[in-house]
């Protein structure tokens, strides 16, 4: 106890919170001998010197148009909460859009070459950085990593990062600076747990009593501290988080700012204004604003728009099942094939008739690129095989050859069924414009489209009672962006996997919880997917994902349109280095943020 207290005093001295005289007085009060004090202070001396560059740049003000409500990343309800937590908490590794890892709390990146990743894919060993401390001065050890797993794995906790840790069997501390993760099934994705946004490590001593159903009551959730550069000072849920420097932060001379303010609420456009036009705030997150508007705001030169790869793929999903026929008391049943979309040629023709380049140029600008691929991130997984095509003649030929003749109204028919599709998406001005462009293209090939837009809160909700959710998919086609949560495409590409119809296909019996919303059942794809989950050789594994992408795209199950980017903005006087990553928070490198001029 006494030693711990003395460490706090030394750290306080090192960070300049108390004077040397005050430190001497307090250490003496602890009953430490004069000799002991001298040696303790000598350990503080180099730290004092290093800490000289810490702070001094005032406050950095960050604006999120969604407000954080909790600062425990494993109970987070959205990106805002992850990003607010990431200012003080850290994972073992961070990862960029290309899937490159760099150590944060880990001393190095495990690999098969250095023997830390087991050749049989059953385990991985992490070596941890030495001398890392929590925001309250306690040492960070492998035991905290093990604890974080216990916290998440306890189902009663209701951790929202649960699935990332699904394949983990045990996490054990080998010694204070080494931790071993053992998997239930051999996996190539050793890098899922404790990496990136879903991998932040929690302090055992703050949360030990709150594992399980009490997790949401922990005071830590509102006053988080971690191994990161800042700790939460005050938190007003739904409004503002104020952070101050973590005096025990390991890196000398960092962070540059004395205080971080993360303000939430409002809308994306005015957030862009506050950074680009008035420079009231230093950084604004996720500016989902039409490109021409954003460009106009940035003309003043006060701020800069930054984009990063991996914002997700905006795509049109084709329903393989019939949304208009009721079978077993539900529409879109996997056993009722769609009258014409079940034919791959129709889907391919519809894909050829989408003017992706116009959508990309007019609506997205630098916020996204046209794409025909479903899997674009990590960038190394991008298929080299597909090319962007907008070819009305080819699409018409395809449909003519298939024997679908146009009726008197110009709409093609298969028997008595006219090619009229209901095309739904969420309410969003940009999406409604996209719908119009796509509709115009489809009209040229004799496919009529009825446009429908559903409130985002309903469309993306999980309520089993509402027929308008994306998972019910009670329309012919629907459009939204699927995002990449992790550098391993397992969950992302699980969207097309149907190995277990009862579980994978959304239906009444499973409360529409399956991922395979298109109700596509393809043996070839399923085989590739199952193989990819266990193929340990990285090159072969990558090849499998690319083949899966090609299969989905060539079959026209999904018609990708835009490979979206992450879009944020900062004032010209703020340097945020390479902060954007699709797999980690935008605040991941906030220790490196600094003022320029």
């Amino acid at each position: 106890m006494a030693s711990e207290r003395s460490e706090e005093i030394i750290a306080a001295l090192a960070s300049g919170r108390i004077s040397r005289r005050e430190a001497l007085k307090r250490l003496a009060l602890l009953g430490i001998s004069a000799g002991g004090i001298t040696s303790l202070l000598s350990t503080a001396a180099p730290r004092t010197a290093r800490a000289a560059g810490r702070g001094g740049s005032g406050t950095v003000k960050i604006l999120y148009w969604e407000a954080p409500t909790i600062v425990n990343p494993h109970l987070a309800q959205g990106t805002k909460d992850f990003d607010a937590s990431r200012v003080c908490l850290e994972p073992l590794l961070t990862v960029d859009a290309a899937g490159r890892f760099s150590p944060v709390l880990a001393a190095n990146v495990p690999s098969r070459a250095n023997g830390q990743v087991a050749a049989d894919g059953r385990s991985v060993v992490y070596k941890l950085k030495r001398g890392v401390r929590w925001g309250d001065g306690r040492p960070f050890t492998a035991d905290d990593v093990a604890f974080t797993y216990q916290f998440i794995a306890n189902k009663e906790t209701g951790a929202t990062t649960y699935a990332t840790y699904d394949n983990v069997a045990t996490v054990e501390a080998l010694d204070p600076l080494a931790v071993k993760i053992t998997f239930k099934k051999p996996t190539p994705a050793w890098y899922l747990p404790f990496v990136g946004g879903n991998g932040m490590i929690l302090p055992r001593h703050a949360l030990d009593a709150y594992v399980g159903s009490g997790a949401r009551n922990a005071p830590f959730n509102l006053k988080a501290f971690g191994t990161g550069p800042y700790k939460v000072d005050t938190f007003r849920p739904g409004d503002l988080v104020v952070y101050s420097i973590n005096p025990y932060y390991r890196e000398p001379g960092k962070p540059a700012f004395d205080q971080v303010q993360l303000k939430g609420g409002g809308d994306a456009t005015s957030a862009a204004r506050a950074v680009l036009e008035t420079a009231e705030y230093d950084y604004a997150w996720n500016l989902q604003v039409e490109w021409p508007v954003l460009q106009h705001l940035a003309e003043g030169g006060k701020g800069k728009v930054i984009t990063g790869h991996g914002g997700g793929v905006e795509q049109i999903y084709c329903n393989m099942s019939d949304p208009n026929r009721t079978l077993d008391g539900q529409r879109s049943s996997v056993r009722a094939p769609h009258p014409f979309l079940a034919d791959a040629r129709v889907r391919q023709a519809m894909g050829l008739a989408i003017d992706r380049m116009t959508i990309a140029r007019e609506l997205y600008g630098e916020e996204g690129d046209a794409t025909v691929d479903v899997l674009t991130t990590p960038t190394t997984y991008l298929s080299p095989n597909e090319k962007i095509e907008y070819d009305i003649d080819k699409a018409n030929r395809l449909l003519d050859e298939a024997g679908y003749r146009r009726g008197p109204d110009g709409i093609r028919r298969k028997g008595a069924v006219a090619f009229n599709v209901t095309y739904q998406t969420s309410v969003n001005p940009l999406r409604q414009k996209e719908q119009e462009i796509v509709k115009a293209g489809w009209a040229k090939i004799g496919v009529g489209a009825l446009l429908k837009s559903v409130d985002a809160g309903v469309f993306f909700s999980s309520s089993p009672g509402n027929n308008d959710t994306y998972a019910h998919f009670y329309t012919d086609v629907e459009m939204f962006t699927s995002t990449f949560g992790s550098p391993f495409p397992g969950t992302y590409m699980g969207r097309f996997y149907s190995g277990d119809l009862a579980k994978d296909v959304p239906q009444r019996e499973n409360n529409w919880s399956g991922l395979d919303i298109t109700r596509w059942v393809d043996k070839e794809y399923n085989a590739l997917y199952e193989q990819a989950l266990v193929e340990l050789d990285p090159a072969k594994n990558r090849e499998l994902w690319i083949r899966m992408n090609d299969r989905v795209v060539s079959q026209g199950v999904s018609l990708p349109i835009i490979d979206r980017k992450q879009v944020s903005a900062h004032v010209t006087t703020l340097d945020v280095a390479e902060n954007l990553s699709p797999f980690d928070a935008e605040t991941r490198n906030i220790a490196d943020w600094r003022r320029t001029g």
């Binding site: 959205g78 699935a163 990332t164 739904g238 409004d239 303010q261 204004r273 705030y281 909700s461 999980s462």
Partner: protein, 314 residues
């Protein structure tokens, strides 16, 4: 008088119970759930989602949820926010000072401007002053706050750089506090003051032609005295009701204005909670509002008696 207050209070109980049932029912039946944001996140498997819903008590039938909520509310326990798991009353108390400061001062300005201007434009009906005041009032209450708010931002923040348009509780010094409050207060005061001014004017005009006013003039009283002692006193009676009913809004925030200027008041809490289906918070705010409306209605009625001797409470 006491008997009257007791009777009125008892009468309002069924109303309040009905309000709480209706609001609860609408919220429970509304589409979306607090885990909406997680729906598109495949990281949360259905079992876990079910478990979280269970912890929140959302897997129970609506009537049972209502009874549980009502019992807890009567015990002073307003529940916990689904999103932050902070006690709802703490969340509301955290935001109350901001609302009292911003919306309260807007209301005060509105009243301080509306009554004298309203009186003057009634006394000097069709004068230039009346014409100007009336025009401004029409502009004031026909323009919605989201419009005036954005116009103010464009003029005073973006063009002139006079005021910040993002309100923050983390500012230092009275100047900064006042500066950031200027625009939201002005927007609200313009809107409320305009309506109030028109009301004062027409109420004054109703009285100015009355016989007692002529009598007072005939008595030889100066115009000023006639207006202040007689006309104003009678003219203000209906205005009092309007003023009293406006007070609860100070406690529940101005939803639109708070969104535009990111004022962390109760109104923005309400909007965010509705978006996230954070039922306990929405319930508490709407219900507190209902209670305040009932209370201030009662207060207005009691004031009536003081201002108008003809009214007695039997």
């Amino acid at each position: 008088m006491t008997a009257y207050i007791v009777r009125r209070s008892v009468q309002s109980l069924p109303t309040l119970i009905l309000i709480s049932m209706v609001v609860f029912g609408i919220l429970a039946l509304a589409p979306g759930d607090p885990l909406g944001q997680l729906a598109a996140n495949p990281d949360v498997p259905p079992q876990v989602r079910q478990l979280i819903l269970h912890q929140m008590g959302l897997d129970q039938p609506i009537p049972i949820r209502y009874v549980k909520w009502a019992v807890a509310f009567l015990h002073g326990n307003w529940g916990y926010s689904f999103a932050s798991h902070v006690q709802v009353n703490r969340l509301i108390l955290q935001r109350l000072p901001t609302d009292l400061w911003v919306i309260g001062s807007a209301y005060l300005f509105a009243v301080l401007l509306a009554i004298p201007i309203g009186v003057l434009s009634a006394v000097k009906q069709y004068s230039l002053l009346d014409q100007i005041a009336t025009t401004l009032a029409f502009i004031g209450f026909s323009l919605p706050t989201f419009f005036t708010g954005i116009v103010f931002i464009i003029i005073f923040s973006i063009r002139l750089h006079w005021f910040p348009f993002i309100y923050s509780v983390e500012v230092h010094g009275p100047v900064a506090w006042a500066k950031q409050a200027v625009m939201p207060v002005a927007v609200l005061a313009l809107f409320q003051g305009a309506a109030l001014m028109r009301f004062v004017r027409s109420s004054m005009l109703d009285n100015i032609t009355m016989d007692y006013v002529r009598t007072a003039r005939a008595k030889g009283l100066t115009t000023w005295k006639v207006i202040v002692r007689h006309v104003l006193r009678n003219g203000l009676i209906p205005v009092i009701t309007l003023l009293a009913l406006g007070v609860p809004a100070i406690f529940t925030g101005a939803v639109v204005t708070e969104q535009i200027f990111r004022v962390p008041g109760i109104g923005s809490l309400l909007i965010a909670s509705i978006e996230n289906s954070d039922t306990p918070v929405v319930m508490a705010i709407t219900f507190v509002y209902a209670i305040l409306v009932v209370i201030f209605n009662l207060i207005a009625d009691i004031f009536y008696g003081n201002l108008d001797p003809r009214i007695t409470y039997g």
